[in-house]
Homo-oligomer: 251 residues x 2
Amino acid sequence: MTYCLAIKVNSGLVLASDSRTNAGMDHINTYSKMYAFDMPGERCFVMLSAGNLATTQAVINLVERDLEQNAPTSLNTVAHLFEAADYIGNLSCEVQRQHSGGTLRSGVNLETTFILGGQIGEQPQELLLIYPEGNYIAAPPSKPYLQIGEIKYGKPILDRVVRPETSLGDAARCALVSLDSTMRSNVSVGAPYELAIYEAGRLHLEHRMLLDIDDPLYVDIQQIWNKALIDGINALPQFDWEAALRPPSAG
Amino acid sequence: MTYCLAIKVNSGLVLASDSRTNAGMDHINTYSKMYAFDMPGERCFVMLSAGNLATTQAVINLVERDLEQNAPTSLNTVAHLFEAADYIGNLSCEVQRQHSGGTLRSGVNLETTFILGGQIGEQPQELLLIYPEGNYIAAPPSKPYLQIGEIKYGKPILDRVVRPETSLGDAARCALVSLDSTMRSNVSVGAPYELAIYEAGRLHLEHRMLLDIDDPLYVDIQQIWNKALIDGINALPQFDWEAALRPPSAG
């Protein structure tokens, strides 16, 4: 499994991913699921992936080859972010078709879902989710985030915190908490975590972080967050019946 | 869908449920999913259900009939909570078998999962999850809670807060937050919410609550909790790169 998420706030984008891959319980590995294509001053793209690892790597290989060979269509030629999504969606469908003969027999699922974030020239920054079928959707305006993979555990915190006016720092903290909540509930999601922070209008990816489970910053975040939740529960209104409870026994 | 959960702390049990049922998107209804069987001074049981509504109602009808008719086996005769789980599991399997001929053709799923909490005489209070197959498990000792139905959205808060030494009040607040987080993410889970609070050793269910979406207490809890989370994210450590961010533009 995998958990990736991306948040679009007025001041920029935060993209975050775990790094655990598994093909069965006894074949667990660590792979990055974040791919950045940075053409400073002109355009900047970050991709996240969830799904078949071979499909993902094949798509990334093709994206890189098209850039190197100055192909007629590449991340360097597309004029809008939706065209980049179209291009990646087409590559993904092509790769899946190419191998579908071999996997029909084995029952392996070749599908991969991508999140694409970035900005081209003077156009607005954008965040798109590209389905295995090659079509795509934008992040919703009022709750501007997208998730792929094991999305449920980490969703409530995003629903409660993320708004267009949220700061980039808070969005990144929220992304880490969302990853941490998921990792605690599903062993197939795991550290290290990668974060990319894109400032709107920069046309260059300046901030990337790699956080492992024993990184002091991550340990701090976990501890402070746990305490905030316990204190938060404790600060909610008391119930009428609490006054009538027996005092806790010494045992 | 449904979301029910139960928490066992040293000082007692909290059982909580939503009340939305649906057979398709255009057939949504409100039913209680909580059933209490209280024999004050002797024994006390609370059941929660997730799954087929007809199976659930049939099982509850049989449990009530067996009590009225002083049947050889009933909630009044079992000597341990695990025997009560066995009895309910058997009834559930029987009901499913009885109707399986008719539903094989329609593809309807007859399964129901139950949570059973309670205490019999001087035995310890217990919390059991009864599978549709009739077998059952106890809540784990270190994170003593059980969930049925749409369990993922509301799980992280339980993992972070619930411990054996958590107070009954905090456990009930945590259950409400867990329900609220789920309701926000899944339209097939909805208020009113029911809570039963059982004090260990009481052998009587003294505290029950029914909270609808516009109940002032529930509105308060939602607002205070939302603020606590936003403040909590804001109180997490700052990242190095935040100092280097451009100040937000006036636009």
